[in-house]
Amino acid sequence: MRAHGLTSLSPAPAAAREASPAAGLARAALHEFYAAAPADGPAVTGALLALARMAAPDSPILWVRHAFVDRETGALYPPGVAELGLDPGRLTLVRARDIPSALQAGLEGARCAALGAAVIELWGEAKALDLTASRRLALAARTSGTLVLMARVAANPQPSAAETRWRIEAAPSRALEANAPGDPSFSFTLLRHRGGLAPGEWRLEWSRDHARFADRVPDASPARTGPALPGAVVPFSADRPDPPGAAAPVRRAG
C-alpha cells in the first residue's frame, strides 16, 4: 500500500473494513464503478454522490457528465442531490458532448488540488478510455491528491490503471412504515484492488444524516407486492382497449 493508504473514506462500515481492508478508498487515486446493468445507472450516480460527500465534506466537487447519461437516466437533479446530503452549490457540472471531452474535463479536474473530488460519468463502451488515458487520470490524481471517481454505465469492466474497481447494483431498501421505500441501498462488489486484496461484496445503506454507509442486514420482512386491501383497479393500458375481464375488480396485481 502506498503512503497515503486508506482513509476513513470507505463504502464499507467498520466491521466490514476490518474483515477486508480492500473496502477502503484511497484518496489521490482513480476508482472505477461499473453499473451492474444500465438500469443501475442512477444507483451508481447516487453511490458516487455519497462517496463524494464522504470524501469532501465541504470542498468543491467537479462533476463531469457525458451528455448521453443525461439522455438515458435523466439530468442530475439538485434537490435530489441535496437529499443525499451533498450541497448542490458545491458542484460544478460539466456537460461533455462525447467521451474524449468528458475525459479531458475530468483530467483538468484531477489536476486541480483544490477539488475535494472529481467525478466522471460515462455511458457505454469507451474507446477513448484506454490504458493510457486511465493511467494519465491516475497519475494526475496521485500528483494533485484529488480523489477521482469514474462511473461506467452500460460498459463491461476493462483493464485500467484504477486503484480499485467496483460493481454497483441497486438493492431493495428496508421498508419503512406502510411499506414505503427506505434509505438508498446499494450492493457493492469489489472486482479488483491494486493492493491485491480479495474481492468481496457488501450490501450497504446510505445514511444521509450520518453521512456514512451503514451495513445492511438482509431484510427480514418480505416485500409485499399487492395492495393491502383489494380495491378497484384501472386497466393496465390507457390507450388500448381493456382486455376481457379486466374491467372487473382485480384483487391482486402481480
Binding site: A39, G41, P42, A43, T45, G46, A47, L49, T73, G74, A75, L76, Y77, P78, P79, V81, A82, E83, L84, G85, D87, P88, G89, T92, L93, V94, R95, A96, R97, S101, Q104, A105, E108, A113, A114, A170, P172, S173, L176, N179, A180, P181, G182, P184, S185, S187, W206, R208, A223, T225, G231, A232, V233, V234, P235, F236, S237, A238, D239, G254
Partner: protein, 451 residues
C-alpha cells in the same frame, strides 16, 4: 440613366444586381479590418468608414504613413479608396468625398474646406438648391457670412454643420464597439504564420496589458485577442474568466485552450499582419494573500479550473446548480453558468429517506401503469418496454401546478409516488389529474430516478 441607355453607350457593360446586404457586410468587414489602426471605428453611411486616429499615427510613420497603409490594406480586398486625415470627422469625410486633399495639417482645415462645393455640406437637396439660388457656390463663401443670418434663413443645422466642417467645433465618433479598458498590440513587418511565434507575441502583449492593469489595481474579466490576417480576415478569440486576471501565462493557457477547441481552426493562411490583445471588461483586483501556512486560496484554484473548462467547453456546458423558491419540481432548481455565485440550499428533513430523485427527466416520460382507484400507487408499470412490479411505494405527494404562472388552461394536479421494484430500483412516478375528471383516464409519467 436607364440601363438601356447605358448599354447603348457601352455595349460591353457588365450588369449585376444590387445586394445591399452584401455591401453592408463588406463595409462591416472593412471597419473590422480598420480596427488594426485604432479601436475607435465608426461606419459612415453605406460606403464610408471613419477612424479616430488621435494618438495612433506615430505607430505607422505619421499621418501620411497611416493613410497609405490603410489604403494598401483595403486595396488587398480589391477596393479603391479615398482617404483623408483631417481635424474633425466631418471635415475628413467632406474632403474624402468631394475634395482632393490627403492629409490636412492641424489647424488648416478651414483653408482646405473653403473650396469644397455645397454638396459637401450634406444637408439635403432642398437646402443645397436654396443655397445655390442665393448665389453660393462653395463652402468658403458661406463661412464668410454672419452665422445669425444663415441660421435665420436656413436653420440651425447649417450653422452647426459649417462649424464642424471648418474645424471650429469637434465631435467624437460613436464607435461600432466600445473602446477596450486597455489594450496592447504588435504590427509585424512581415506576415507571421507560425503559431508558436504568435503565442510568444501574445504572451508579451499579455504582460504589457497586465502591467497596465496592475498600475490601475484592476484585473481583466473579458479578454479579446484579435488576429488580423493579411487577406483582410479578422479572427477574434474571446476569453472570459471567473475572477479578475492579469497573469500572462494563465491568460495564454486559456487562449490556447480556446484555440484548440475552435470548431474552425485558426487558419494562418499567408500569415497575420497584426495581433492585438484588448481587455474588454476590467474589474478591481483583490490581492489574495496565502494563509499563514502558505497554502494558496482554494477558491482561486477552483476558479482557475472553471476558467480552463469554460475556455475548453464553452459557458453553456460548465454549470452550477441554483436553488429556486418553487414547489414545482421542474422549477425548484436551475442551472447557471459556473461563474455565478452560489446560493444556499434548503436542508433536507432529517430521519427521512430522500424525497426527491437524483436524476430528473424533462419532460417526464410517459409510462403505462396499473393502479388502484382513486389514488393508490401503481402496482406495476411499463417504462421503456420493461415491466416493473412495484414492491414498495409511498405517496401520493400532491403537487399542484403554479396557477399564477400558467395560461388559460392550467395543467392538471400531479400525485407523485416513490416506488421501488423487486430489484431495488427506485422511481418517482406521478399520475396527472384525477380519476373521473376530464376525458379518458389519467395518464401516468415517470419523472425521475432515485439512487
Amino acid at each position: 440613366m436607364a440601363l438601356a441607355d447605358a448599354r447603348a453607350c457601352l455595349p460591353a457593360l457588365r450588369v449585376g444586381e444590387t445586394d445591399p446586404q452584401a455591401d453592408a457586410d463588406l463595409l462591416q468587414a472593412c471597419a473590422t479590418l480598420c480596427e488594426m489602426f485604432t479601436p475607435l471605428v465608426a461606419l459612415d453611411g453605406a460606403d464610408g468608414v471613419l477612424l479616430d486616429v488621435t494618438g495612433c499615427a506615430h505607430l505607422f510613420g505619421g499621418e501620411e504613413g497611416l493613410r497609405m497603409q490603410a489604403r494598401r490594406t483595403l486595396a488587398r480586398l480589391g477596393l479603391h479608396t479615398r482617404a483623408v486625415v483631417a481635424d474633425t470627422p466631418d471635415a475628413a469625410r467632406a474632403l474624402a468625398r468631394h475634395g482632393a486633399a490627403k492629409v490636412v495639417p492641424p489647424g488648416e482645415t478651414a483653408a482646405f474646406v473653403a473650396g469644397l462645393p455645397l454638396a459637401a455640406l450634406d444637408l439635403g437637396a432642398d437646402t443645397h438648391l436654396a443655397l445655390g439660388r442665393a448665389g453660393f457656390r462653395a463652402v468658403g463663401e458661406l463661412a464668410e457670412r454672419p452665422s445669425q443670418a444663415l441660421t435665420a434663413r436656413f436653420g440651425a443645422g447649417l450653422a452647426t454643420k459649417l462649424a464642424r466642417l471648418m474645424g471650429r467645433e469637434d465631435i467624437r465618433l460613436t464607435p461600432l464597439r466600445d473602446p477596450p479598458a486597455c489594450m496592447a498590440e504588435r504590427h509585424f513587418p512581415e506576415p507571421l504564420g507560425a503559431m508558436d511565434s504568435l503565442m510568444a507575441v501574445l504572451e508579451r502583449l499579455g504582460r504589457e496589458v497586465g502591467a497596465i492593469l496592475e498600475r490601475r489595481g484592476e484585473g481583466g474579466r473579458l479578454f479579446e485577442a484579435s488576429f488580423f490576417r493579411t487577406d483582410g480576415a479578422v479572427r477574434r478569440i474571446v476569453v472570459e474568466t471567473a475572477q479578475p486576471l492579469r497573469d500572462a501565462p494563465g491568460l495564454l493557457r486559456l487562449v490556447r485552450l480556446k484555440i484548440d477547441a475552435l470548431a474552425d481552426p485558426l487558419d494562418p493562411g499567408f500569415g497575420f499582419d497584426a495581433l492585438r490583445l484588448a481587455v474588454r471588461r476590467a474589474e478591481p483586483f483583490d490581492q489574495s494573500q496565502a494563509d499563514l501556512e502558505g497554502k494558496p486560496d482554494p477558491d482561486g484554484d477552483v476558479a482557475a479550473l472553471v476558467d480552463r473548462l469554460v475556455a475548453r467547453f464553452g459557458r453553456a456546458q460548465v454549470l452550477r446548480f441554483a436553488a429556486r423558491d418553487s414547489h414545482d419540481p421542474l422549477r425548484a432548481a436551475a442551472l447557471e453558468p459556473a461563474a455565478a455565485p452560489a446560493a444556499p440550499w434548503p436542508e433536507p428533513d432529517p430521519g427521512q429517506p430522500p424525497s426527491r430523485p437524483v436524476t430528473l427527466f424533462d419532460p417526464p416520460q410517459a409510462i403505462e401503469a396499473l393502479a388502484e382507484v382513486p389514488d393508490g400507487p401503481p402496482l406495476r408499470f411499463r417504462w421503456r418496454r420493461v415491466l416493473h412490479d412495484v414492491a414498495r411505494a409511498e405517496g401520493p405527494e400532491r403537487i399542484a401546478p403554479e396557477w399564477w404562472r400558467v395560461g388559460a388552461r392550467p395543467p392538471a394536479t400531479r400525485d407523485y409516488y416513490r416506488v421501488e421494484n423487486g430489484q431495488g430500483r427506485r422511481f418517482w412516478v406521478f399520475r396527472e389529474g384525477f380519476h373521473g375528471e376530464g376525458e379518458g383516464r389519467p395518464r401516468w409519467f415517470l419523472h425521475g430516478l432515485f439512487a
